[in-house]
């Protein structure tokens, strides 16, 4: 059933070498021979074996996909799934397939990303960054395998990384509050160990200062990006002596949790101004619809693919890119200027 090059060669009455040259588009093969062989390959549905090819060539046309870190970098994470989806499409158009490493056996001490990449001989890989990244990621990044990081800073000899300009994320939120007449803002961050959360907090503080806005220290609290933590932190904020009216939560889920907390306290949600982050589907559907900062998932996925391709082809070496976020204004900040 499954044919080999040898059988095709015999059928065509030529040597293996000739068939191989046709497969690999060498131009020193006679037209008639070529046509005959091509027809035969087509007829028998012949496809050269990946294993044999990759054993002798260096190229595999396979990209490894790694979700690094124990938290927030999962296959079904709503942000990353969009990024990876676009990445997959873009790489797919170039003929690459994606190999997703499972790390369920990772407690086994000898598991190691570099080894696995070498085992499969992938042409390159994409690393999705979560929190508490395994040290073995670094061995991979320092190797000569091209790597592109998303939301993780990679500094290997053939690596790059890409992420949203998180400073700008906060800038947009703070600016929008400022233009809405808010003068005091609370901040609900993610885990304190999170690179993303830290960048956004830094941007938040700087920008608030630049606009002369107040950000009392006890109005800066931390959740874990999920809804319940937003609910809990908002309740804490509402217990303070002075309570905030403007809240920037660095994930939509936390913002939604915060809205729920406000309602559950019997307060009027219309008297609060809330901004989230991500623009998940639910953001449009909560009451009131949530103003949010959207990351350009599409661009991130697409650029990650382009950069990785350039890295693989040796067109570039180290590189990094920040992608601009967008402000999406909805009613949770009380008005509808430029609503999308």
């Amino acid at each position: 059933m499954k044919m080999t090059i040898k059988e095709i060669a015999k059928l065509a009455g030529v040597s293996q070498a000739t068939v191989s040259k046709i497969i690999n588009n060498y131009d020193d093969v006679g037209m008639k021979t070529k046509e005959r062989v091509l027809a035969l390959m087509d007829e028998h549905g012949y496809r050269p074996s990946y294993a044999a090819q990759s054993l002798v060539k260096k190229v595999t046309k396979v990209i490894g996909v790694i979700y690094a870190g124990k938290i927030n970098a999962n296959f079904n994470h709503p942000f990353f799934v969009e990024v990876v989806s676009t990445f997959k499409k873009t790489m797919g158009a170039e003929g690459y397939d994606l190999l997703f490493f499972s790390n369920e056996k990772f407690h086994k001490a000898d598991e190691n990303y570099l080894q696995r990449c070498q085992h499969y001989n992938v042409d390159g890989c994409i690393i999705i960054g979560g929190e508490h990244v395994e040290p073995s990621v670094d061995d991979l990044v320092q190797s000569d395998i091209p790597c592109i990081g998303v939301d993780i800073q990679l500094d290997g000899p053939h690596s790059g990384y890409i992420m949203t300009d998180n400073n700008q994320v906060s800038a947009l939120a703070v600016e929008h509050f400022y233009l809405s007449g808010q003068r005091e803002i609370a901040f609900i961050g993610g885990a304190e160990s999170s690179l993303i959360s830290n960048e956004r907090e830094k941007g938040f503080r700087e920008r608030a200062k630049a606009y002369g806005l107040q950000t009392p220290d006890d109005w800066i609290v931390y959740g874990d990006f999920f809804e319940d933590s937003g609910y809990k932190q908002m309740n804490e904020l509402l217990k303070k002596e002075r309570t905030p009216r403007a809240i920037f939560a660095i994930s939509d889920l936390m913002a939604i949790g915060a809205m729920r907390a406000i309602k559950d306290q019997g307060l009027d949600i219309r008297e609060f101004a809330i901004i989230g982050c991500d623009d998940i589907t639910a953001a449009r559907h909560v009451e009131p619809p949530l103003t949010t900062i959207r990351q350009d998932k599409d661009k991130i996925g697409r650029m990650a693919a382009y950069i990785l391709k350039d890295l693989i082809q040796g067109n570039i070496e180290r590189t990094s890119l920040k992608v601009e976020p967008d402000l999406i204004v909805r009613e949770s900040t009380g008005h509808e200027i430029g609503s999308v």
Copy 2:
């Protein structure tokens, strides 16, 4: 840097064959030799080449993932992403990695799932079913490569499939309407070519009949599973001479669209009873929270993995499984009995 078995053998002062036996856990190797070689492999981070191994062995420990059909079966589809996520975890625990085929080059006439599976020599594959499935899927399913289908009926010699009991999906919805005192129900289906939509419609009609409920023919309409189509179809329903008060939409997004249509018409949403399907995140957050029929994504993904494993090991041949859905009662059907 990247070692071969030959180098390890030389370092250890034994033959390749001996090293190979150690890698493959043959038990006829001396303890001391084994330990020495193992230590060496560890020290040098040696990992046998996938290509070389798979060339000579039949097993690859790689599973192909195929999103078949042009519609509704995407990498980032909210339902399938959960299913595949659990599938990945379960297979991962067994040491399998997942290879996602890209089908961006698919217009190229010679693309063919069977060929690609053979090319990579995958141990088996999972096929996610959408609409308008490519005929080439059938060649794969009829081959001797084990296949497990999700939301697609597969009848190959070594294949199985799994999906929610769609008849039961409708049964739960109809029953809930019946118990809420509704006596006339409208139905918003998906594309008419959709297997899932057809099963649900069939179940809906049968069960409504069994309960003696009215389902006027012009109250049975079709969208495309997305929000806007629900909005549009609901508007059509509201133009009828007699308009429905109870609506079963076979996706949450369409249900949410329908709710929006009702509100936009200036009608009181509280006078309608609406049931969706899927239990997406937004279902909890719309006003009023949406009653829905939840599919057990986790179980589907897990069972798909178990079945595929059994298929690969030859423990079973053809098989199929229906998974029970759950009714999640929220306020869109007017009361809160047994709310989750």
